[in-house]
Symmetry: C2
Subunit: 247 residues, 2 copies
């Protein structure tokens, strides 16, 4: 196999969306973690539901709607200013600490992002984090008006980079995204950020459990969708070595 | 508006899927509630993800896969017998207490189920609960190989009953399903089974919270998808009076 392009999911893969929790905690003291978890569940659900219903709205609308839902269901009073301050964090997400070095080490290949984010959100985020200097392309699914894991979304990689699926390594920490990319025919490296050992610590019974940890875990463990990633890695830092084996 | 047919979602609307919790609790003491909640989240996710990926498998496969995922993520050892005993419950779900009387009171209209369930699962469930005596049709989406809320799924109502969307009242307690039906053009009654007042009791801070209650709640509160049901009711028992207003 030849790898001509390495293409990354953005949210949760290059950028740590859990870094939103600090902002939600500041806005709603005591609720930061539960807001973050419910918000993420609903944000994903809304991308899939709107795609299936044929009622696409871009990711900034969905992100705002799912946050409004979350605050509503938790009964948290808020003004539009608070909502906008939290939303603003999506334009300033923290990169994972090993992201910049890993990308720099693979500069011989085409490097890109393929994300559910809107072009506006992604462009700002990439510039704010300095990744515009190493990426060849930042691809939003918004030209297709359907979200991942639709095959139409992944087809944009070949359209934009001119590299066929068999020569692309797609990298995601999101299990559903890794499965979608695999179903489409891309080579896939899945980043398993929560180890089974760490998981075991979260698994105590109903009453004693840390259910918030568990609901975070179900976003990070490989799904049962009849598909397997080609590679399982623990961090972005492992990528340059993996890619070097496929010149 | 004339209502010629009243069509029901099955799981969570006519049948109480929370009644599965007793069986999972018996199989895995202390874990019944968390197994039930994670299982349901993943079961729904897998219907949407497989639909979007174009990798349809029927609902019995998805229900088994999502249960296997749930037990795996919780680190619960099990033999295939335990898994099958829990699955078996899906063929013997409890009807909501007011379901049979509500259906009997509307016998002048065409009455049907439209469900994500496979034909095999639904036929057995409907017979086991005695609803085969009052329903004109039990419609599975499996002939379309795509799940609700795809418009293709809802189109089966007209195909099978010969009643156009404008003369159908679709009834669901699932917010995403109510939205999908509305997007398709059906008249929709959404059953709001958890009241805002009951919700408020579940809303305490991160540490003290009943997060399992909260994660149940996010399946029962109306979603922010830009769509509104035509009617909000609190129980199936309210339907006959509503329907009687539209001869």
């Amino acid at each position: 196999m030849t790898i001509k392009a390495v293409v990354f999911d953005a949210y949760g893969t290059l950028y740590d969306i859990q870094s939103v929790a600090a902002v939600t905690e500041a806005a709603f003291p005591g609720y930061g973690e539960i807001v973050t978890q419910i918000w993420r569940i609903k944000q994903l659900e809304y991308t899939w539901l709107r795609s299936l219903m044929g009622r696409y709205e871009d990711f900034s609308v969905i992100t705002r709607d799912s946050l409004a839902y979350t605050l509503g269901v938790l009964g948290l009073q808020h003004d539009s200013g608070a909502l906008e301050r939290i939303m603003e964090k999506y334009l300033h997400l923290d990169l994972y600490p090993d992201a910049a070095a890993a990308l720099a080490a693979m500069r011989g290949r085409k490097l890109a992002i393929l994300s559910n984010g809107s072009t506006g959100m992604l462009t700002t985020l990439v510039r704010n984090s300095g990744l515009d200097r190493v990426l060849d392309a930042t691809i939003s699914i918004d030209s297709k008006k359907i979200f991942k894991p639709s095959p139409e979304a992944y087809s944009l990689i070949e359209t934009r980079l001119g590299v066929p699926p068999a020569e692309v390594l797609f990298v995601s920490s999101n299990p559903w995204d890794a499965c979608g990319a695999k179903a489409f025919g891309l080579n896939v490296a899945w980043i398993e950020r929560v180890t089974p050992e760490a998981m075991a610590l979260a698994c105590v019974k109903n009453d004693a459990v840390a259910p918030l940890t568990m609901f975070k875990a179900i976003r990070t463990q490989m799904d049962e969708l009849g598909l397997e990633p080609d590679y399982r890695i623990g961090a972005l830092a492992e990528l340059p070595k993996l890619v070097a084996q496929h010149p």
